[in-house]
Symmetry: C2
Subunit: 224 residues, 2 copies
């Protein structure tokens, strides 16, 4: 498919990172990854270099690569920024969006609705994560700014890394489906202020849920 090996490694590694397959601050050994993906170390290094620039992994000279750390402080900061950007995108999308935009939003929402949220092990299913990402991207798309989308995508990706952590404590006591539906309805009704309000609430609620999970996990680690 995607011709080059380094490209494939990059994509797969990124997906694994976002899916929380590796723990934060875990060491990413070049040769281990090399044999796991059965490619040369050069390809791995190249993929890790790109992920470093994205902030998903950290590089320390002479000491290799690690999964980027997570923290409550970072999550809060990230969410603040996300609220700023996502609402700005949303405002502009509602102002600019045409029928094609409405159509992709409706389609993405329908797919999201029809995708089971949980995998067998209790985490988010990869299919749902993808549908969820596509839905939010579809909403923002019509903002008409490549840079805004670029920044939005970066922030969204980082948030996905936190999302898995939330699943454990978020046992159905949150009606995410309803939030998404209301968000879509407000956007399609061109009710800008309501849509912005719902988006802000959605992101803040996500942050709170994740934060609770993070603190619980920290407390558990300290108990050991």
């Amino acid at each position: 498919m995607s011709g080059s090996a380094t490209q494939t490694v990059y994509e797969q590694l990124r997906a694994s990172l976002l899916a929380g397959l590796y723990r934060p601050e875990e060491k990413l050994k070049i040769s281990e990854l090399g044999s796991a993906f059965s490619v040369s170390t050069g390809a791995i290094r190249e993929a890790l270099a790109r992920l470093t620039a994205e902030g998903l992994v950290t590089a320390t000279p002479q000491r290799g690569f690690r999964v980027a750390p997570v923290s409550v402080a970072d999550l809060r900061d990230l969410t603040d920024m996300r609220v700023e950007i996502e609402t700005k995108c949303l405002r502009r999308a509602i102002a600019n969006g045409d029928l094609a935009w409405e159509t992709t939003v409706v389609a993405a929402h329908h797919r999201l609705t029809g995708t089971p949220i949980a995998a067998h092990d209790g985490s988010f299913s990869p299919a749902w994560m993808l549908a969820h990402a596509d839905f939010h991207a579809a909403l923002a798309q019509a903002c008409g700014s490549a840079w805004m989308m670029r920044v939005r995508d970066l922030l969204f990706a980082h948030n996905e890394r936190y999302l898995d952590l939330a699943r454990k404590t978020d046992r159905g006591n949150r009606d995410a489906a309803r939030e998404h539906r209301e968000l879509m309805e407000a956007a399609l009704a061109r009710d800008t202020e309501r849509a912005v309000m719902l988006m802000t609430a959605h992101l803040d609620k996500t942050r709170d849920t994740i934060e609770a999970a993070l603190l619980a996990a920290t407390a558990m680690n300290e108990a050991n």
Copy 2:
């Protein structure tokens, strides 16, 4: 100096890119760069991979790397985004900034004032570019958000690439020094609205100047 060769190459290549040493869309040949820096191709590829993630170069599988293209549309989009982020940073910096912040701003401004703007060949002098970048960074620093600074830095870097293009048509008919001084004064006086206004005007003016230069360059190319 900075331990690893790949790190050095990355930094130098990035600086050259921002200084406009390579033309947009110019091919970046791995082995050429390798011999130029006298390092292995692996180090070059790694540096280029990071720059790709930053958007300063583009990578096409099986076909190598190129300097990222420039366009009027991108410049406008970039500036819009920059106005959003820079003013947001500025507002928060003015609200949060303490004496230490004021001090670094004053220091950065003094250095900027004392640095000759032009190099012998008429382009911006590297020292001025650095002082200029530091001044704007100093202003924003006290915003207290790592993510906001991260995005700001990314956008600023991309703008630097355009800046060189402007120099040719910007023969002293712009009083950048005054703009910077007024900006600093408003910030230190905690006059938020005036500072935001000045920042917006500063960035918009920069865009207009660059845009004129870009269009002139395009017209010249078409004549050939």
